[in-house]
Symmetry: C2
């Protein structure tokens, strides 16, 4: 017997076609869309407000850990990229190159590049080299250290296959760049910022993450070590959601960041860099959304509550709108997490009720409140939770009193659900056969749908890692932080392994 | 008898060499510096925090007037620029052109541009064309209007002669882009946003501005009308500090932004755009600073109060630092304008007192507070105002009680001083001889030092305006808003003039 199909707001469903479902959720929630410029997206107001909310929280966290913001040039001279060998290797293959500084009208009535530059400029794919150049000027003595600066900026990496938020040619991000007098301090900074990212992901995005170190093959070009947070999406693939790099003295040497230490000796500084980007929005969508569209964790929602007036007849408009406006005012005065006031949206558009309701379901507003003439009579409201679909009526007073409790429940519930999902799809695997079976698609049409995260012993051989990637599209996502490293034997080679690592397919 | 020269913290003084004084103030306050990339600046933490404070206030004002933020691509296809004839004319001469998407290592061991693009991309000098393209997709019916979107972004204009903040190849700005169903509504928006800018300039920057309309020659390329705010700097030159453009249907036609009106007819939308940039920081510096460095209006200061511990002997460190920390905590809890808490900086660096004091004088912190062992005994503080140089001692309690009053006094005093300066250097001029004399440098070494703003009748002939610019470097800064236009006779041609316009030399 065929399963009764429930009509969903998003077509196709996750089960039918996960990548397409993602695109449709992003579209339906009006988060972003592709622009006519290849690989560059337009972030629409609902999506951008989500980014602003992420920025607000992260920016506060950066400032609380002693960082300040600054701004460095968009362009990087070609010769700067050449300074760090691995860095060139990593970024030269996909970058926007500015070669001219003028357009000239030709005889064909079209504009042509004119005034070639002496040295081509690269649109920054990341800013280690240009920022390093400035730090070299700013640092003379150990008294000038540490430098703890963050930059909010756009960067460009000429990706061939792009996907809204997850991989775009231009994206928005923050990049922290710090310089320290000692190796120890630089390592502490690297770890501290990874912890900041993990805290943000779990407490605000309700997205559980594994913290760990990357293997050599997945390291940032030029870094000594890359730490990362990795999250599991609903197709069981891993999303690298943030990275924090310990750069050692590599970039200090390339940019000549030297200082006189307190004994009068010249030393190279130790540097770090760390970043998260608009990719987080993609992660948020894929962690929580369902077949009816987006579900936004309340702490980051552009509006925690959306108020929908129900106006059956024109005569009801006045009193209903008045009640809605007054509820909006009352709710907007409530402070919640970090002392922020609630953001409340009143949707006064002249649309059919069902259309309006679905609009906000698809956009993922955590709570929808309806007020109509019948609710007015009894001083009540009718509300619906986006996460559970639960609907209830209560007095307006009661709703105002418990709204933050409901929001906390939604926030906690989303984190728990995502954590449960990850745990249910993570497995300790101790044989190659099990490993292969785990990563073999269970659904031919959807190669993404495989087992999830495998915890296996691995000897660390880069050639073997390459082979696994080619054969199974599986990589080591991270060598996870472990309270006690539990040594064992590599399931592929039988060589010794210090601890289990996390394997997965990734975005 | 030679005038006794007072040694100033900034050399040269304004009187000696105004342009060089400006560079030195920016340097001494650590606001920004030139980068190795021609024309691109590095905005340092103190300068960037100033920008963040400006952003915070402006962003709130934009949202209060119904706008939301979004983000559009950095790159504009060359063909888009070609769509609006005047727009091309205005921007093609100075733009960064991306022609390749890869760098390839050559036999010479250097990187060379590779993978040429099919169509060159321009790094946005402004975004009317790319945003117009998106609006054309988003707008079908009058119900989709108005669109009220703002973007915070970086833009690039390949200026040949650059000057920190005032004119740089890359700068940060916001650009509002709105689309409306009617001409009237678009005009209202254009005027409303100019009023927002004027309010921000006067109430936050303490920088008085004239509001008015640009003449044809100074109009934004492609606009029907450009409104502007103009401020007078201390060299009596005008700084265009913000513009709001009524674009008519020009860009709607170029980008095909059409809609079905409520009678079922297809119409082109009416659009506006408006922007202010990091140039405002240059204006702020030149409006208030003196020969000892920067003076920042308290409402925008990165720190309203800087606390300087005075520690003559090591044994004093503990109690003095404790008192400083506790004062910082107490002051930081005070809310002031817009419910914002005061920003208080405690400078605990191990530096000589004089050096530290001058550091903050040059950075322009509105109030400096010193606490030393003697102050502790009597529970007092010693404070100094940056604007007047006034120094006083009082009890700590009294200081806490009156700190916001002092900040208000500083804010109001700076505005009044700037307004008085402008009025003292503005003149109604009714003859060509007086006009020439007014704009003839009074100091050969400093061609900037001329009369200031001249209010004169002008027939509006663009050729005459061109000639004045070539001959005297004077342009019409604006046709000022006037409660009642007072007609007269052009002082140059004797032709009729609708009202006096403002002439000046400009940045």
């Amino acid at each position: 017997m065929a399963k009764a199909s429930k009509r969903t707001a998003i077509q196709p469903t996750r089960e039918e076609n996960y990548p397409e479902w993602y695109q449709q959720v992003v579209k339906a929630a009006e988060l972003a869309e592709n622009s006519p410029v290849r690989g560059c997206m337009v972030i629409k107001p609902w999506g951008y407000t989500l980014w602003e909310n992420m920025q607000r929280v992260l920016d506060r966290m950066f400032k609380e850990t002693g960082h300040t913001n600054a701004y460095f040039p968009l362009f990087i001279p070609k010769s700067y990229l050449e300074k760090e060998a691995q860095h060139v290797e990593g970024f030269a293959k996909e970058c926007a190159v500015v070669t001219h500084s003028r357009l000239e009208m030709g005889k064909d009535g079209k504009l042509h590049p004119a005034s070639p530059l002496e040295e081509p400029l690269i649109v920054r794919p990341t800013s280690e080299t240009i920022i390093g150049e400035m730090y070299a000027k700013w640092v003379q003595s150990y008294r000038d250290l540490p430098i703890l600066i963050n930059q909010w900026a756009n960067v460009v990496r000429w990706e061939m296959r792009t996907r809204l938020f997850l991989r775009t040619a231009e994206f928005l991000w923050q990049e922290g760049h710090t310089a320290h007098a000692t190796e120890k301090e630089a390592w502490e900074e690297t770890r501290q910022m990874l912890d900041v990212y993990a805290k943000f992901a779990e407490e605000y995005m309700a997205m559980p993450v594994l913290r760990g170190e990357k293997t050599e093959g997945e390291r940032f070009p030029g870094a000594v070590s890359t730490l990362c947070i990795e999250a599991m999406m609903q197709d069981r693939k891993a999303l690298q959601a943030g990275t924090s790099h310990f750069l050692g003295q590599n970039f200090a040497k390339a940019s000549d960041i030297k200082f006189l230490d307190d004994t009068g000796n010249t030393q190279f500084a130790w540097t770090t860099s760390w970043g998260v980007s608009t990719r987080l929005i993609g992660g948020l969508v894929m962690t929580h959304s369902d077949d009816d569209g987006m579900i936004i964790p309340p702490r980051l929602a552009p509006a925690q509550v959306v108020i929908l007036p129900v106006i059956p007849k024109d005569e009801h408009r006045g009193p209903v709108m008045e009640a809605c406006e007054s509820l909006k005012k009352e709710l907007s005065a409530i402070t919640w997490v970090d002392g922020q006031r609630l953001d409340i949206h009143l949707d006064a558009r002249d649309l059919r009720g069902g259309e309006k309701m679905w609009h906000w379901v698809k956009k993922g507003a955590p709570i929808r409140v309806e007020i109509g003439p019948r609710d007015l009579e009894k001083g009540g409201v009718f509300y619906a939770r986006r996460d559970t679909g639960e609907k209830a009526g209560c007095s307006r007073e009661e709703f105002v009193g418990k709204v933050t409790t409901i929001l906390d429940e939604i926030q906690d519930g989303l984190l728990k659900r995502a954590l449960d999902f990850r745990e249910a799809n993570s497995k300790v695997i101790d044989s190659v056969d099990d490993f292969r079976a785990f990563f073999t698609p269970q659904n031919e049409k959807q190669p993404e749908i495989h087992g999830g995260f495998a915890y296996s012993h691995f000897c660390g051989d880069p050639a073997l890692e390459d082979q696994l990637q080619k054969e199974l599209k599986v990589t080591v996502r991270c060598i996870p932080y472990a309270d006690e490293a539990e040594p064992g034997t590599c399931i592929f080679t039988g060589k010794p392994s210090k601890q289990r690592v996390v394997f997965g397919k990734s975005y």
